[in-house]
């Protein structure tokens, strides 16, 4: 089983989409529909039917901009404020303008959004200001509906192939090197454009349960996109702005304030009272969460037991069917009932994800990275507060632009030595007689992430992490041992996780201020707008180590008034219309 075979083959395509979760299928579909002659390949290390963050579905859209409920200007302004101003607004604004069309398209695929008794979109207010949340009562069918569209469009789907490195040449993208996760056979894909949709780095920190796969994000999302972009020489932005989320303790699934909130549920402390001051899902909110956990008023709970039976039953129906359906099993095991008691919450391990923060592979409003012909969309690209609809919409933008890009270019020439070197790197753990298995390499890396990188961030601890990472990396490169193709996939993931851990440490040390609440809380430094109101861009340096530089925030498209900025500093944003 999972026997390692020797083999290598090569294919050519116009557009290679890596990652078949959320953004990827949409990128592939849009590219193919715009140019039906184009050869579009969609590759996934799992099976496109059920891969990525929404493998089991999604309970709703968190960030819809639907005419009559919100405007692109209002949304852009709010996301700018929520990210402490460090955003290029162009991609946010374009998303805000384009997402309604994508909602309608998803609707036509058979994905249902909650509608009122007149059949109109039933948008809910969760943020204090705008109205953005649209529940999805049959959100468990999202992947199935996407897969159906891919098959109808006759997209070439390649399952169980994991991309390990991008190929570049002539100063642009040339393709990717991939390995089969069941046989270890290699596949070299020459491509005129590559769209990376590889999701978050969700297996970076270790969950408090100690179960390596009990992560907040789907643990299959190990951050391969960040790692591959890095090795291909692309810029990565603001990686010090980690993702940390509130969750149901131990279960590590989302608490779903977005579902429960509009129905009257909320996050409370042990006294049953709300404590979150911040109006936005942001690092500031997570800092308040963290402080409450540390204070005498913790732990923190999801409170629904004040609601009517009818309301709780409705919340349960949604939460237990969609996104993380084993949640019902979990509560049953524990004997917890939303009606009777509050449900203990906690905060997640750290990760990279633009879904909830402004970090990731740097892209513009066309989803272009800093490497020509290379695109990124979804949780790995740095368009902030993407969530699922952002992945779909920006995936669409990437596919549309990529299929234009290929019109005028041929395959870039690359150095075949790169393929040979990558084969040697990948297969090294198969050439040993014994050694350290990948799960131990991974566990140790992630344990060090928790010990030394988790906020509050301390310089000496992060430097210690760098030294210890170097030791583990040395073991990984010289002593890791795998017995079959499945373990080989895990060894490649361990390598990705190590890359992300090192980038997290390096990026965090570079920004010598505190910003984004808990996400980049460096206890030795205050917030410093004078020196640090900028992006930080990290890329692979000449010496093979991460190098960071500053980059100006582009002039805003939607101006933010001074009093609005102040309001954010005070964490008391003045609602333009009152909350519901």
């Amino acid at each position: 089983m999972d026997e390692i075979l020797d083999g290598i083959s090569q294919i050519d395509c116009d557009v290679l989409v890596i990652g078949g979760g959320t953004a990827g299928p949409m990128a592939a579909l849009k590219a193919k529909r715009k140019n039906p002659e184009a050869n579009v390949v969609l590759l996934d290390k799992a099976n496109v039917k059920r891969s990525g963050a929404i493998a089991m579905g999604m309970d709703g859209l968190n960030n819809t901009i639907i005419p009559g409920h919100a405007t692109p200007e209002q949304y852009t302004k709010e996301i700018t404020i929520a990210n402490d101003g460090i955003v290029d607004q162009a991609p946010i604004y374009r998303y805000a303008q384009g997402c309604y069309e994508i909602i309608q398209e998803l609707d036509s695929f058979g994905i249902r959004f909650q509608k009122d008794q007149n059949g109109e979109y039933d948008v809910k207010k969760v943020h204090h200001i705008g109205t953005y949340v649209l529940p999805m009562p049959n959100g468990d069918t999202v992947k199935k509906a996407l897969y159906r569209q891919l098959r109808k469009a006759r997209i070439n789907i390649s399952n169980r192939y994991m991309a390990t490195r991008l190929l570049t040449g002539e100063g642009r993208i040339a393709g990717a090197i991939c390995v089969n996760t069941r046989t270890a056979e290699f596949l070299v894909v020459r491509a005129k454009a590559v769209v990376m949709c590889l999701g978050a780095a969700g297996r970076l920190g270790l969950p408090t349960s100690g179960y390596m796969y009990g992560t907040y994000e789907n643990p299959t999302n190990t951050g391969e996109g960040y790692s591959m972009a890095y090795h291909a020489g692309a810029d990565l932005a603001n990686l010090e702005c980690y993702q940390i989320n509130p969750l149901i303790k131990d279960y590590n699934g989302p608490a779903c304030a977005y579902v429960a909130g509009p129905m009257g549920g909320y996050t409370a402390n042990a006294e049953g009272e709300r404590f979150i001051e911040c109006d936005y899902w942001s690092g500031q909110m997570m800092q308040e969460f963290y402080d409450e956990l540390q204070s005498g008023k913790g732990p923190v709970y999801l409170k629904l037991n004040h609601l009517a039976e009818e309301t709780v039953a409705e919340i349960e129906r949604v939460l237990h069917i969609v996104e993380r359906p084993t949640r019902g099993h979990f509560h049953k095991n524990r004997g917890t009932d939303y009606r009777k008691q509050m449900i203990e919450m906690h905060i997640s391990e750290i990760g990279f994800c633009s879904g909830h923060s402004a970090s990731g592979v740097f892209v513009d409003e066309n989803a272009r990275t800093s490497v020509q012909g290379l695109y990124a969309a979804g949780d790995m690209a740095n368009v902030p507060h993407n969530y699922m609809l952002g992945a779909f919409t920006n995936g669409a933008f990437a596919g549309l632009d990529a299929v234009d890009f290929i019109k005028d270019v041929d395959f870039a020439k690359f150095d075949h030595g790169d393929v040979e070197a990558e084969r040697n790197r990948v297969l090294a753990p198969t050439k040993r007689d014994d050694g350290i298995p990948p799960n131990q390499i991974e566990f140790k890396t992630r344990r060090l992430v928790n010990d030394y990188l988790q906020p509050p961030k301390v310089t000496a601890k992060m430097e210690t992490a760098q030294r210890r990472f170097a030791e583990v990396r040395d073991d990984m490169q010289n002593a890791m041992y795998v017995q079959n193709a499945h373990e080989l996939m895990r060894s490649l993931e361990a390598s990705t996780i190590m890359d992300c851990a090192e980038m997290a440490a390096s990026a965090s040390l570079y920004r010598t201020e505190s910003r984004w609440g808990l996400y980049h809380n460096r206890v030795e430094y205050e917030k410093d707008d004078e020196n640090w109101f900028c992006h930080t861009l990290l890329k692979k340096g000449e010496n093979g180590l991460p190098e960071s530089r500053k980059q100006d925030v582009k002039p805003y498209i939607v101006e933010i008034e001074d009093d609005e900025k102040d309001a954010y500093d005070k964490q008391r944003v003045q609602p333009t219309e009152a909350a519901e």
Binding site: D116, N118, G119, N156, P575, A578
Partner: protein, 320 residues
């Protein structure tokens, strides 16, 4: 070397396994046909709908969600009469996933069926498809002795947003079933008609709190010229959920006379209600109502104190 890409197999080849003597093999064949997403597969899956084995029929009913059009709905209608409840339920769910309006034609023919389950499922599919021809049968179905049929029918009427259906919707707000009443009340939201508003006002006195809540929430949509006093009365409802919606609706309708009463409600122990009442006071911004808010500037609940401060600012702006 393994195959690099997923296959696009010939449908006929895949369908051959539907004749396998083993039910498990036939289930696998149905799944393969569904994965093809090729409309040529529909007749074969339709055949599997009448398979001798319950598991095959169940998978076929589920698999039809991958297809659309009248052939698909016709096959699902067959499954609605299956001897197995699981197959029937699966077919009913699959019917709600249809998107092609043409798929509604066979469903329209089912509305005279004598089986309650079939009619409810047909209305369920027709609602999503918004076929106007469903309006007449749905109106007629409102007098059905079956609660399930009346509930399904009232939903269809609401989605069609046809003024001609208003009398039917209005009468449905006095249905025996509170579920039917609740849907009918919320469905009146599209109408700016004064009689609709009167109907909603009557529903504020419904015996079921969720109907009252729906009515309080829907009233501003119909215009609300006459709704002020009834909504003020609803501020005394025994359910805080109803009081909350009434307060917000009064504010949305700019009923300034309600400000004092809403202000006096802020002393409630229920944080959600304190929060919404303070928001409503801010929206109304009636000078003199600061007195209700001032004690809650430092409320223990952050959402309440934010709304209180915001409301005070709005009132101050209005005064200056």
């Amino acid at each position: 070397m393994n195959a690099i890409f997923e296959d696009f197999d010939d449908i006929k080849d895949l369908a051959d396994a539907l004749d396998d003597p083993d039910a498990g093999a036939r289930i696998v064949a149905v799944m393969d046909l569904a994965d093809s997403a090729d409309p040529d597969a529909i007749p074969y899956i339709a055949k599997a709908i009448t398979d001798a084995d319950e598991g095959v029929r169940l998978k076929a009913a589920q698999a039809l969600t991958d297809f659309d059009g009248p052939e698909t709905s016709a096959a699902l209608i067959v499954a609605l009469k299956d001897s197995s409840e699981r197959v029937r339920e699966a077919a009913a769910i699959s019917l709600t996933e249809l998107k092609d309006p043409k798929a509604g034609t066979p469903l329209l023919d089912c509305l005279n069926d004598d089986d309650e389950f079939v009619i409810v499922a047909a209305f369920g599919g027709l609602k999503e498809l918004r076929r106007p021809e469903a309006l007449g049968p749905a109106i007629n179905a409102l007098v059905s002795p079956s609660v399930a049929i009346r509930g399904a029918a009232v939903s269809v009427i609401g989605w069609l947003q046809d003024e001609n259906a208003l009398p039917a919707l209005m009468s449905a707000t006095t249905d025996q079933s509170s579920d039917v009443r609740r849907v009918a009340v919320a469905a009146l939201g599209f109408s700016k008609n004064e009689r609709s508003e009167q109907t909603l006002i009557s529903a504020l006195e419904d015996e079921n709190w969720q109907v009252r809540e729906a009515s309080a929430e829907t009233l501003p949509k119909t215009g609300g010229a006459n709704a002020a006093n009834p909504l003020m009365t609803a501020l005394d409802d025994e359910y805080w959920q109803v009081r909350l919606k009434a307060a917000r609706s009064l504010a949305a309708l700019k009923i300034e006379e309600a400000a004092d009463k809403i202000g006096s409600m802020i002393t409630t122990q229920i944080p959600n209600l304190r929060k919404e009442c303070s928001a409503a006071l801010g929206e109304l911004a009636v000078p003199g109502t600061e007195k209700y808010l001032i004690d809650f500037v430092d409320d223990g609940d952050p959402d309440v104190r934010k709304n209180v401060r915001w409301a005070l600012e709005k009132i101050a702006q209005k005064a200056s």
